[in-house]
Symmetry: none
Subunit: 205 residues, 4 copies
DNA sequence: GATGAATGAGGGTTCATTCAT
DNA sequence: AATGAATGAACCCTCATTCAT
């Protein structure tokens, strides 16, 4: 059993190595220009293992997105369950989202590229994850409308999309443009995002 | 001279056919999955013509973007020159931008896909166009701050990026999601955008 | 008739422009990598004229070789007719040959490349010219044997080929290698060639 | 380890098949007209293999030349180390060179075609090999001058080039021209070469 | 005589995927 | 579990040649 476990965790490690390598390669040049050769080289494994753990190149890429968005969803759900008000929840979600992209721009770049890529054909699972993420934001916007802190004329579904798009694009723009102190840039940036979201949505007294 | 003109305009027509075909193919599947074979088939010309008018597949794609953004820039400049206030200019620009994407979602899809595609290597001309478009929005935001209608704490450069990203993503989301009356959807959508922009930026009384 | 003549000489000029341009392009990159596009561009004429004056790209190239070798043949025949001894004739021929290549290395490069190119399929005319050139050298070697100045054990046909190959290769090597004074190099080089030929063939006293 | 070896030797065999096929195809039609399609067909492998073992068509061709010249260099070095006199060394080298070309005219044809092909852009390694081969001949000519058996007025560098050019061109001419007994032709030919070299260089008593 | 737009077969190269070992 | 040699379809691009004007 110890052996079984060891084997499994070694397999998990290999799988993770492949995913990490794939993410870095895809982030650098995009999904289409990422090659399996380059990924296995980066991961330091042979070509065969990639097809032992995954059924195709698309499967690798989708695993990255599904797992990444999955973590976001989990966090969003925790925030939704704990935040005392919708406003708190929205701010926390947007901040977390921006932070995750900021910390892992490879993922952000891949996410934004695939989110609106024409003709993309990911699985049901992938589309479901996207919807779930948007739904969590939308739910807090609607809650805010009930609580009287979000303007009632807002279309919550529209707003959820706008938030995701805006956070992704501005974050990547900031990461790409800044040559200086990233940590400081990050704080300034999150402040902007928070301010923007607040004003766009808040009921004006 | 009439002859010269006729010849030239026929060549121009062929060139345009190629650009139109390329845009439609790229919008359907993305740049990487668009093939020159498919493009020339769609354009109804032979393969060689594509390389008679353009130096490469990338050159075709870039021509589409440069010309498309070029038209936007021209319109933005006209708006900037005529709008009585910064607020009017911003609303007009965002509305126009959204309308263009709405009417030509193929272009919008291509634009958003390439704008943040990792590793993309377009020319100086292309990058210059992007910067110019953002600068025109930024200039109106700064003008609004001077006029006292845009909140002074806003970072105009950040805001310009946010606007472009938000308009692109929400517009494409709307086009993709709506199965019903597009014209009506469009009006509702533009209303949302206008409202969103107003609240995000306006000085609250 | 004056008109006819003018037209003809203009046509001749265009033809010559094409041949000169073709020679320079072919010399730079070889026959296979020379493109008709590049040739007409260099000649400053349109693509159609190339096919008005020549039936194909191969026809252009062959015209260059046939005319070039033709001039060599004419000169060799003059030398053969006038030289008092076989030794004088051989020296004069080799010197002339080397000089021509030295002065027009584009032609030399093309000649050497095509002379032993495997699978080349030039016309009968071309092969005939080659044979004629070799025969003229061979005839002088045999004359020298009869006159007692060339070693009788030499195979004249073999020697003729050796001379052509050696002159071509060494000349091109010298042209390629010398960065300094070409005129001085030329004299030294011709001296070497003359010496080499003399010792290789002369009956030792 | 036997397994490792077997795998390696199978890979080596495939690589060699490709090189052999490429040499035969290139010798028949020249480098430019040789196609990768034809080469892999001749080798009996799929197209991808060519690019698994070599980085490009040029790489295949260069490998042939580098390996072929490499063997010549090795032999020349052995001759230089063992020959009692410069004259012996020179004769042996030229004989060996001629024999190699005679036995493998495909290689000779490729060599001569590429040696003076205009615009050829081989690697440093290739140029280095060429230089090394010429240097070995040149060294023996200079040794001969010191030993008093080669005429002192000879330019050894010039002579080395002349020898290579002459051997290549005459050998190929003989192979091409002879329809009869090749073995007998070979002997006669080598005799000519030996005689020619001797007289061209030897100090006349 | 002259133009240059158009053709299309064919070239070198890439790469996701398979499979014998 | 893991390797890496092998496959072959598909890609982008080139270029000699033709022909309507």
């Amino acid at each position: 059993m110890a052996r079984q476990k060891a084997r499994t965790s070694k397999a998990d490690a290999t799988r993770r190595q492949l995913l990490d390598a794939a993410l870095s390669v895809i982030a650098a040049r995009g999904y289409s220009e990422a090659t399996v050769d380059r990924i296995v080289e980066e991961a330091g494994v042979s070509k065969g293992v990639a097809y032992y753990y995954f059924s195709s190149k698309a499967d690798i890429a989708e695993s990255i997105l599904v797992e990444g968005i999955g973590e976001l969803i989990t966090s969003f759900e925790a925030i939704a369950a704990e935040a005392p008000t919708a406003t708190d929840a929205l701010i926390a979600m947007v901040e977390l989202f921006a932070s995750v992209i900021f910390e892992n721009d490879a993922f952000g770049r891949f996410f934004v590229a695939e989110l609106w890529r024409p003709g993309r054909a990911w699985s049901e699972a992938m589309r479901g994850h996207e919807q779930r993420l948007l739904a969590l934001l939308q739910a807090q916007l609607e809650r805010g409308q009930r609580e009287g802190t979000v303007r009632p004329e807002i279309d919550a579904a529209f707003e959820a999309v706008a938030l995701v798009g805006m956070v992704l694009t501005t974050t990547l723009y900031y990461i790409g443009g800044e040559g200086g102190d990233l940590a400081e840039a990050r704080d300034r940036f999150v402040e902007h995002i928070r301010d923007f979201v607040h004003h766009a949505n808040a009921v004006t007294p």
